[in-house]
């Protein structure tokens, strides 16, 4: 009896050990070069990286001989882990809704993302509205509750959308389900710009109201506060630079339009998302300091994507923009490492620069680069072991740590499958037994 307890505890040990040493690996730090050596993890942080390291007391040793370590992948555009629709598509400005309210920590997509090396994701509202809802950054801490997934301290965001998607509900001929009675303004790109400007205008007035209230209370007066309007509250934060704008866009004209609108209202767009024609206006984007998060090689699925080129990321990067590659898809999310490799094929980026597009670059775009995005002492212990060069599409994720906890282990996953299947079969059989026999056979004529 005691033996089984010891075995059980020993099996659990790696999961809860505070000190871990991963040794004998090829370590791609992204920011500080590539080396052969070890990573030391203490208290959820990277304590040391080097060819030779100091091994702390009571460390769990993980031999990663012949394997590769990279920082946990960061997906800058995702819609996983959301309960219900990712769009509040009934109104063209839905800045009152918040993805934070509907996080679903039991979405299997989180686990599948882990199995693809993703440790952090920017979870966004959909693109149905010129101004969408509030967004946030999550870590893929599979097994924790909703609060436990939130990336603490990451600046909250809000989604804007330009181009075809937000004007679809306004289009009586072509829109999905839009009829003349339900057509929702805007129906053209002109209207999209107008909608955004109107909303920011309103927010500006709202901010003035609250600033005045603040000034009065500072003077010792006791006025009744203005009514708090959730829709305008988040836009006020945008104007104050406290909330990042992530803007879905495709065509060069709308990209430029939004940069100019932001200028007019005194804030910066944090990231342009998809931005498939970003290469055409790269210098304007670079001048504004906005980041760009794009697909590697998607194109032609819509007319606004017809001029998309797989060199987009490389061109923008060469012109001085911080570029990341994202998935916007729960399947694509599982191989962002190979998406990064495409930046090597299309545009000749180096391996480090390519890898940066799914690690340190999205970290910088999301303002979390002090915590994640590269393998450096002091950063969160979010890392991934691959069995082969991570930029090869022959590579497989073996293990994933977040905050120094092992959240994914391929071996454990594979070994656990028979037991899971058995458990499920038991329930199915149990249910079958308690059911009356159904009429009719299964085989067709």
């Amino acid at each position: 009896m005691r033996k089984s307890w010891i075995v059980a505890l020993a099996a659990l040990a790696p999961l809860y050990a505070e000190n871990i040493v991963i040794q004998n690996a090829t370590i791609l730090t992204v920011t500080k070069g590539t080396l052969q050596g070890s990573v030391v993890i203490k208290d959820g942080k990277i304590a040391e990286i080097g060819e030779k390291v100091m091994m702390p007391q009571n460390s769990t040793i993980v031999d990663a001989g012949g394997q590769y370590i990279i920082p946990g992948i960061i997906d800058c555009h995702s819609h996983i882990a959301v309960d219900g629709s990712v769009n509040e598509g009934s109104v063209s400005v839905s800045s009152m809704v918040n993805i934070k309210d509907v996080i679903n920590p039991e979405d299997i997509s989180i686990y599948r993302a882990l199995a693809g090396g993703v440790t952090t994701a920017n979870i966004l509202h959909g693109s149905a509205n010129p101004i969408g809802g509030q967004t946030l950054v999550l870590k893929m801490r599979w097994g924790k509750d909703a609060q436990g997934l939130i990336f603490e301290g990451a600046v909250p965001g809000i989604k804007f959308a330009l181009g075809e998607n937000p004007k679809r509900p306004g289009n009586p001929q072509g829109g999905r389900g839009a009829t003349p009675t339900t057509a929702r303004y805007p129906a053209t790109r002109m209207g999209v710009e107008d909608t955004i400007r109107e909303a920011l205008n309103e927010a500006k007035a709202y901010k003035a109201e609250w600033d005045e209230y603040g000034a009065k209370t500072a003077r010792g007066e006791h006025p009744i506060p203005p009514r708090k309007d959730l829709k305008l509250e988040s836009l006020k934060e945008v104007l104050e630079g406290k909330r990042y704008v992530h803007a879905h866009c495709y065509r060069e004209d709308e990209i430029l339009m939004l940069l100019r609108v932001a200028d007019d209202y005194g804030f910066k767009i944090r990231t342009l998302q998809h931005v498939l024609e970003g290469y055409k206006v790269a210098q304007e984007i670079a001048a504004s300091g906005t980041g760009a998060s794009t697909f590697s090689d998607w194109w032609a699925f819509k007319i606004e994507a017809f001029d998309a080129i797989p060199y987009n990321a490389a061109v923008m990067q060469k012109k001085g923009i911080v570029v990341s590659l994202n998935s916007d898809d729960e399947e694509l999310m599982r191989h962002l490492n190979t998406e990064a490799a495409k930046a090597m094929k299309y545009g000749g980026l180096s391996e480090t620069d390519a890898l940066a597009m799914v690690t340190i670059n999205p970290a910088r775009q999301l303002g979390i680069d002090s915590r994640v995005g590269s393998l450096e002492a002091g950063k969160d212990a979010d890392l991934v072991i691959y069995d082969k060069d991570p930029l090869s599409d022959f590579a497989k994720v073996q293990k994933v740590w977040i905050d120094g906890h092992l959240y994914f282990d391929r071996e454990t996953d594979v070994n656990g499958r028979p037991a899971k299947a058995l458990e499920k079969q038991k329930l199915i059989d149990k249910e079958k037994q308690s059911q009356p026999k159904s009429a009719g056979g299964r085989r067709p004529a």
């Binding site: 598509g89 839905s94 149905a128 199915i428």
Partner: protein, 500 residues
Amino acid sequence: MAGSRNFLFGSNRPFFGGVFGAAFAVRRKGVTVFFMRKLVPALLLLCAWAIAENPRTLAIRNAKIVTVSGPVLGKGTVVVRNGLIEAVGENLAVPAGAWTIDGEGMTVYPGLIDSLSTVGIPSLAVAPAPAGRGGRGQSTPTQTPTPATTPATAATPAPPAKGPEDRPATTSWVLAADEIDPSDHRIESVRSAGFTTTVTFPARGIFGGQGSIIDLASAEHAGEMVVVPAVGQYLAVSRGGGFGGFGAGFPNSLMGYIAYIRQIYLDAEHYRLVQEAYAHSPRGMERPPYDRALEGVIESKRILLPANRVVEMDRMLRFAAELKQPAILYGMREAYRAEAALLLKKYGSPVLVSMHWNEAPRDPDPEADRTMRSLENIDQGPAAPALLQNAGVPFALYSDGLDQPRDLQRAVKKAIDAGLARPDAIRALTLSPAEIYGVADRMGSIEVGKIANLVVTKGDLFDDHTQIQMIFVDGKQYKPAPEPPAGGGRGATEEPGASQ
């Protein structure tokens, strides 16, 4: 029709007292025994007939009495007077003139309380859903037991809401008590299952209004049925069955519903501030408008929020804490999971557990993907009450659309078979809901002074072959409605739509 029995009620009181008194007086004055032997029995018979249907004092003797609040009495007596429990105990003296019921072989329980119902509001009765509801059509997973139709609004459909300012699907000022229709046929049906009381909510829209505690008495005026007119605001985070999408109006996503509810509470807080300031010194201040939606919200002393999955429980408990509203979660279909009990203990909120257990699909595709979660839910759902009981989480059971006696009895039996001790099952339908709604001082157990809501059975309540003999609501006796032919009434309520 219960009404026809009532015609003698009320008029007998002085007569009854007077005759008895006269008989006594005659005896004392030494009138012949002959007179006594003929007149008194005749008079007694007259009285007996007169009071047979509606005794003002009645006693059930020699019955097993499950008081819920105290020990079970193996052989006891309950005395009811004026609709209240006057006495309960073993070896009690039956008051003179009380109509006596021989409870030999019977068990007396407190009348059952359905802690979340729409009985009494016939327009909210759930229609059986058409087959093929399927799982993929829903945009929000938190399908609450909200009826599919809102007939009140069907006649003149409002234009789609353009934002929270249009107060979509909000009728927070409504009190269920004002909508009670005593002719709702479900009253008799549910009462025949042993329920004497329902907590009826105007379960429609996002802010449906406040629920009221209703005694299921046959009354001419709805007001006579109302025990407590306002017990809390009913909230939902879906429109129930309708797929959103463009054109449906704000809100049409789960986060939209939550944002809307949050805005309403912000508005209510602001409204209160402004109204108070205005009331304090109106002179020189712009008159604030009256907003009945906000008034309704402000008046509600607690809110009901839907939560089935553990993720939803977590979400709603946090939300209620943010809104600073005492909350009761309803649905609770994943309450059998260990995480649920831990979460609920942390917040200390009471919960209402749906008795409408998920069942295995009929005639399923043998190769369709059945998720582990849904298989577990079907297998372990009925074990939820037992687990909550063991964890010490205050909970009550509710019908969630079931309204046929056979279905209700079976539903509770399932929980008992899954581990809920029978006394706990009974408590979950009597004293617990009374406590949750703050009316344990007047109902939920057989105690002196409480309302005489009782159900009398032959056999243990909820067993398969137990017969309900009679039901007492506010001290008035009702007989259970005759059972429909086997399988007759079952179809309607076992359809999937009964609980969204």
